[in-house]
């Protein structure tokens, strides 16, 4: 297998877009292509990650459309739909193409325009990833699954609402340093939890999760350029290698899991990614986790191996996951505050980590970051892709 490098990364600001879907993807693509400075090196393939285009934007065959919009013919083009893990799945497809020698340069783009529909329709669209016979038809939504998960996790491991609030406050603070983040609004413990007004400021969404425990509904696009070693060596700038990728699945219906608090797919995907990268969790300097709900950042950081089970909330209390802490988690603001355009999220995580490893993350730069980890969490943990990136010195 040939080594694969990320030689360019770019994204749009997440939030609300008035661009057509393909133009939004095109904007992120051009940013990544500019970042890579490929010159006359051709793009061999284009992979587009998207979850809802056919349903909420009435557009299919996005990769073909993007190739046309960017005049990248005759590049191979394909789209990937894998729920909220679509982004990392698309990167995996691009990785395989380069690693196998089928392509030397692949553009991978994640894009989603969720604000094209109202909140109720958007929530229903995302809920369609749940089990159709035992979850969806009973009105299960992702916030409700996360609420049940949070209640169980809290009772078993002593996690309290203040720990969830700490995750939200941290990620909002990080997003203040990220010009691409959806939410630029600092929040405080008093404002969202301890003041009498917190009940209005931070209303219950799905017990015990409140408004500020949930990611916003975002539009946005993110793109990376993958290249073979030969190409990467011809380009300037620091080299970021995709050192490891792992994927694992779990039962579709959450209640069928022996222990629903055990994010088995995160654990197994991470173990595979670390084994492939010949690394261990303790080697990681910066991580992007899939915090669609605050409880998930806590649970994923344990399942990925950064903390023992039931210990992550204590590390959060100690400030270890803040910028400047022992292991900064979600320096971008995470899904919680950078935003969560579902198909784009997995790519955006790698954009942020590429910038971190290249030393280009401006005010939120993690000093001396050389190894990075991302967890793209599909479904409610039933399809997870973990990625380990490593900076290679020239």
């Amino acid at each position: 297998m040939r080594p694969v490098y990320i030689v360019g990364a770019g994204m749009t600001r997440f939030g609300r877009s008035e661009l057509p879907l393909v133009d939004l993807a095109g904007t992120a693509s051009l940013a990544a292509l500019r970042h890579a400075s490929l010159g006359k090196v051709p793009v061999d393939g284009v992979v587009v990650a998207n979850m809802g285009g056919s349903r909420i934007n009435r557009q299919t065959a996005l990769a073909s459309a993007l190739v046309d919009r960017l005049a990248l013919y005759p590049a191979a083009a394909e789209a990937v739909e894998n729920g909220p893990a679509s982004g990392a799945s698309a990167v995996k497809v691009g990785f395989q193409a380069v690693a196998s020698g089928m392509a030397d340069v692949v553009l991978v783009v994640g894009v989603e325009m969720m604000r094209a529909v109202d909140g109720l329709e958007g929530t229903d669209f995302v809920a369609s990833l749940s089990h159709p016979e035992v979850e969806y038809i009973y009105g299960v939504t992702l916030p409700s699954l996360a609420g049940l998960f949070a209640r169980l996790y809290m009772s078993r491991f002593g996690v309290e609402r203040r720990h969830l609030a700490m995750v939200a406050i941290k990620n909002h603070d990080h997003a203040m340093k990220n010009p691409y983040a959806h939410i630029h609004q600092p929040i405080t413990m008093e404002g969202i939890l301890t003041s009498p007004e917190a009940v209005v400021n931070n209303p219950l969404v799905a017990d015990p999760l409140c408004l500020f425990d949930c990611c916003p509904v975002s539009d946005g696009s993110a793109a990376v350029i993958l290249a073979s070693k030969d190409i990467a060596e011809r380009l300037s700038g620091p080299r970021v290698r995709i050192a490891g990728m792992g994927q694992a699945t779990d039962t579709h219906a959450v209640h069928e899991r022996e222990d629903p608090t055990d994010l088995r797919a995160v654990r197994l995907a991470s173990e595979k990614a670390f084994a492939m990268a010949d690394a261990k969790p303790a080697d990681v300097h910066v991580a992007e986790l899939h915090d669609a709900f605050t409880i998930l950042e806590i649970a994923e950081s344990e399942a990925a191996g950064f903390f023992k089970r039931g210990e992550a909330h204590k590390a959060i209390e100690r400030g270890e996951t803040r910028l400047g802490g022992r292991l900064p988690v979600n320096p971008s603001g995470g899904l919680k505050a950078r935003g969560h355009p579902v198909g784009a999220t997995g790519v955006a995580q790698l954009v942020e980590l590429t910038w971190q490893l290249r030393g280009e993350a401006t005010d939120r730069q993690v000093e001396k970051a050389k190894v990075a980890y991302a967890c793209n969490f599909g479904g409610f943990g039933n399809n997870v892709i973990a990625t380990v990136l490593r900076k290679e010195e020239r």
């Binding site: 749009t12 600001r13 997440f14 939030g15 609300r16 877009s17 008035e18 661009l19 109202d118 909140g119 959806h182 939410i183 630029h184 609004q185 600092p186 929040i187 405080t188 008093e190 404002g191 969202i192 003041s195 009498p196 007004e197 917190a198 009940v199 209005v200 400021n201 931070n202 209303p203 500020f212 916003p216 975002s218 539009d219 935003g339």
Partner: protein
Amino acid sequence: MGSVTDLEALLRPPAMEMPPYPPKVVTLASGEEMVVRQVGREEIPTLLKAIYPLLLVERDYYDIVAARLYAELLAYKRYRVRDEYVLVGLIGGVLAGVVNGRLVDAKVGMSYHTMTIRRGLRVGSHLFAAKMEYHIEHIGQEDVLIVAESPIGFRRWMIEYPLEKKYEVQHELGGVPSWVLTRKTYFDAKPRLVSGRRPVPAALLAGAATIRLPGDDVVKRQVLDEKGGGR
């Protein structure tokens, strides 16, 4: 017809006695303190300056709300609407939002508009709640007639409280069928949606004595950009 003064008396609606709205302070999600207080006619020109740049902002129906609110505030200032009141939210003295309404009669109130200038902190939710608090608890009314012009408003008022349909009544805002907040609905919702502390500390109240405007560019940025841009 007699003098100009006589004509003005014919044009000017009669006024009912309204108790003042006692100011309160609420802590926002950001930790900032927002003072909610009533404004008089002398402060309306300042509010008009804040609303003016939003007349052409289509996003989230700001244009129609701004246009109607502008007219309502002007009518209040110039005595061409009956029994109107205006409340503002001020963060560090800077305008964060405006709400207004009026009395239909002693028992029934009518909500006009809720305009949030500082977004993402549920300022509109706090100010709308203050408006309902004024009608029900301070004026002592039984019902408040309400409509929404935007989906955001519909979610905040009709669904969150929740309001009841009162479609047999035509609201003044375009004759749209009304919804209603009753005393019972208000007190049922109060623990979830109505907050704030009184009295407001003297220093905070003094800081909110004069309305400061955030500037046109800041207003547009806050309305368009704070929640993720509009490109």
